[in-house]
């Protein structure tokens, strides 16, 4: 069992005969963005041309945060245990700290491993420290190139200011810059801001006149020995500055620096991959040091160029313009936004206008249908109210018919020849039958699916047609009804059934109004007359009248003073009257009854509607 487990554990160890092992030894946090970019590029490059399968190991000394001097013995012991029996082919030492650690412990921890040193910046490089056979991938600090790029963008600067710190690296870099300027035979005086505490540095930068060139080399420490993170210092400088700031490290571009001649981390990653592959290929150890400098190239920040109104065209074709896609939006955000808004508004307006036009057309068609439908709904409600009257109107002829039939039977049974009497009775039966079917026809007209019709008809006729039903209802309710017509026809144009509805609504309303009165005083008067502006239909009751506050609301939908009122009757009545070009109004006072008048324009002799001033 133990042997089985051991054999499993030992599988990768034995398999290691075939695979190559590469240890990434970082002096500082390997998860910093530049290292991630570099690492990704390296692995991609190695994977694209695999000679052997590579197993990557990774260790971080994290010397930025932890004191190496104190931890180093334990760390070395731990690593010794970890890598015991494991052959590491190549150690990639990133940063000077890692290289130093390897110098002290490499032989013991990873015997036989060959070294690729990755120098973070040019000023870190100490060639003497490289172990034999090691390679170094270095990025150089291209101060000259950066100056040249700055002069391309700003041929005639007000002033030239160089910012650097007071650490050893800072001093070296500044020295390099001074040499470069000397070589350029710069006519203008170059001002050096070296090792200023941050607050003072910001104030000095702010006082630099516009259109100057500021070159930020990096500041690790100020003159008081205070340590800084160079990128933070750059941010502060960019914020305070009224002139463009240039930097020679890739990570400076993007933080506000306009441009610089920088080595990309990706290119460094590819160079590392090349060296690793070379070492794994097992070529003979180079007695000397292989030193490779990652190529520097012009990189510019399009946003920063925009900020300082610098022309990207001056940079040349070899210059990589970064963040360009963002600035286009940022540069024109309000124009683009405004344009989009205008387009959207126009589109919305057009759609709205189109749909409005369509809605209006539909609405116009729907209006008549709706009025018809609403009127029918109201007619149905009316029909419910009129049930008693209808039953009476139908039962009356039916009753007469039955009685006549009974009588005729008796006559036939009498055995005498009573043909004449029977004929008379049959005549009565026919008359009553027609009368009953007429009632039903009227009922169907009143309730049926009736489309709005536009025909000429006599207002008196409408009153006549409904007289029987009005009288029947009046009788049922114990109401006296008086009906007056004009001798001459009053021709109006419109829908006869709807005008019937108006009449029925007003009459039922009037009957409701007098319902509480003693029977002797329950009186309703319906009259037709010719008025100045047309035909006038008047319905008068002697009921309780309407109070002034209710009077104005009478014709509104869903307003009702009746206990069970729906409040649709008068609203529909008004709608119908107005649809016929007429108007309806009421004269009323509490206790004095109410007079509803509907005035509908007459049709002239030539068939046209008479002008209606109302």
């Amino acid at each position: 069992m133990a042997a089985l487990v051991l054999s499993f554990i030992s599988v990768p160890l034995h398999a290691a005969q075939e695979e190559a092992r590469v240890l990434m030894l970082y002096g500082i946090d390997p998860y910093l963005p530049p290292f991630l970019a570099m690492d990704r590029a390296m692995r991609e490059s190695l994977a694209s041309a695999p000679d052997r399968r590579i197993n990557f190991f990774s260790e971080s000394l994290d010397s930025q945060r932890f004191a190496m001097e104190k931890l180093e013995p334990e760390m070395a012991a731990l690593l010794a245990r970890k890598y015991k029996g494991l052959t590491v082919d190549v150690v990639v030492a990133v940063s000077q700290t890692a290289l130093d650690f390897f110098e002290r412990h490499g032989e013991q921890l990873w015997p036989g491993a060959r070294v690729v040193f990755v120098g973070f910046l040019g000023y870190e490089f100490k060639p003497s420290a490289l172990p034999p056979g090691a390679s170094a991938v270095l990025s150089t600090l291209d101060v000259a190139g950066t100056i040249e790029i700055a002069r391309r963008l700003q041929p005639d600067p007000q002033r030239i200011v160089v910012i650097s710190g007071m650490s050893e690296v800072d001093r070296r870099t500044e020295g390099q810059a001074r040499e470069e300027f000397a070589k350029l035979k710069e006519q203008r005086s170059v001002e050096y801001l070296s090792g200023l505490p941050l607050a003072e540095l910001e104030a000095r930068v702010a006082s630099v006149p516009p259109d100057s060139i500021i070159i930020y080399l990096a500041q690790f420490r100020d003159r008081d020995g205070r340590p800084y993170e160079p990128h933070d210092v750059l941010r502060a400088v960019v914020k305070a500055s009224r002139s463009p700031v240039y930097g020679a490290a890739e990570t400076f571009i993007g933080l506000g620096a306009v441009a610089g001649s920088v080595a990309s981390y990706e290119s460094r990653g590819r160079l590392i991959a090349e060296q690793v592959r070379h070492k794994l290929a097992g070529g003979p150890p180079d007695p000397g040091h292989t030193v490779l400098a990652a190529p520097n190239r012009c990189v510019a920040d399009a946003r920063a160029l925009q900020r300082w109104a610098l022309d990207p065209g001056r940079l040349g074709d070899d210059c990589e313009l970064r963040f360009a896609h963002v600035p286009i939006w940022r540069q024109y955000w309000w124009q683009i936004g405004l344009t989009l808004a205008v387009v959207a508004a126009q589109a919305t307006l057009i759609v709205a206008l189109l749909s409005q036009r369509r809605r209006r057309r539909v609405a116009e068609q729907a209006e008549e249908a709706q009025r018809t439908e609403l009127a029918r709904a109201a007619r149905r409600a009316t029909a419910g109210e009129l049930t008693g009257a209808i039953a009476h109107e139908v039962n009356q002829p039916l009753g007469a018919i039955l009685t006549n039939v009974d009588t005729a039977e008796l006559m036939l049974d009498s055995g005498r020849d009573r043909r004449e009497e029977l004929r008379a009775i049959l005549g009565n039966i026919r008359r009553d039958d027609l009368r009953a079917s007429e009632v039903i026809q009227r009922l169907r007209d009143l309730l049926g699916n009736h489309k709005f019709e536009r025909k000429e008809f006599d207002l008196n006729g409408v009153v006549s047609e409904l007289e029987a039903i009005m009288r029947a209802e009046a009788r049922r309710r114990g109401v006296t009804i008086e009906i007056r017509r004009t001798p001459d026809a009053l021709a109006i144009m419109g829908d006869r059934i709807q005008i019937q509805q108006v009449l029925i609504n007003l009459v039922l309303n009037a009957m409701d109004a007098v319902a509480e009165e003693p029977e002797a005083r329950r009186a309703v008067e319906v009259s037709v007359a010719k008025s100045e502006n047309g035909a006038l239909l008047t319905v008068r009751d002697r009921g309780h009248g309407v109070s002034p506050e209710h009077r104005n609301k009478l014709f509104e939908s869903f307003f009702s003073t009746k206990r069970n009122g729906m409040g649709l009757g008068l609203s529909i009545t008004r709608t119908i009257v107005e649809a016929h070009g007429g108007r309806i109004w009421v004269d009323t006072a509490p206790g004095k009854g109410a007079v509803f008048r509907a005035e509908i324009p007459l049709v002239n002799s030539n068939g046209a509607l008479s002008p209606n001033p109302a």
Partner: protein, 205 residues
């Protein structure tokens, strides 16, 4: 006096009215039609047996109102109501007020004629009772004022001695008047007098 029944038909609907008159005539009744309650009230009512076929709802005074008016005038003509649209309330009112029946149109011949027969029977009974009451009234009218005083007291159960004392006359006089009252009213005993008094009160009611 004509003893053939006369049937009064009050209906505003001309068709219905004439059909009813035809039918009633065919089965041998004498019938008379009226287009409204007002028409009926305006016509002199002959003193004949009969009944009233009355439409419930008509323009102007309704059938129920006619019923109430006739009662007020002490006209005991039995009423058969006819209606196209019966409501519980109106039928209850009509029946409470003594209607013979309450029929809904269209009405079957047998149902109608049956109701008419019952109405006529009731009328006959009423007339008979009224005739008896009328005879009683006539006999009562024959009493002298003094005899009426005596009659009232006998009916109240008083003794001759008490009556004599109340009226301030001799007991002998009371006795003689009492015999006269019994003779005029054709009564055999004081108990007969009590029943007569009851009938009179009923007839006057």
């Amino acid at each position: 006096m004509n003893e053939t029944p006369l049937i009064h038909v009050v209906d505003d609907d001309e068709s219905m009215r004439s059909a009813l008159l035809l039918l009633l005539g065919e089965v041998g009744f004498e019938a008379r039609g009226y287009a409204s309650t007002g028409d009926f009230l305006l016509q002199p009512l002959p003193d004949r047996p009969g009944c009233l076929l009355l439409d419930m709802r008509m323009p102007g005074p309704s059938g129920l109102e006619l019923q109430a008016a006739l009662q007020k005038q002490n006209i005991r003509l039995p009423i058969v109501f006819l209606t196209g649209h019966a409501t519980v309330a109106s039928s209850v009112t009509a029946m409470k007020a003594g209607a013979v029946d309450f029929l809904t149109k269209p009405v079957k011949r047998d149902v109608l004629l049956d109701a008419v027969q019952r109405a006529l029977a009731r009328d006959a009974a009423q007339r008979l009772a009224r005739e008896g009451a009328d005879r009683l009234h006539a006999r009562f009218a024959a009493l002298t004022p003094r005899q009426r005083e005596v009659f009232d007291r006998i009916v109240a159960g008083k003794l001759n001695k008490q009556i004599a004392y109340e009226l301030g006359v001799a007991e002998r006089t009371v006795k003689r008047e009492r015999e006269q009252v019994m003779a005029k009213l054709e009564a055999g005993s004081a108990a007969d007098l009590g029943r007569l008094a009851e009938s009179l009160r009923a007839a006057d009611r």
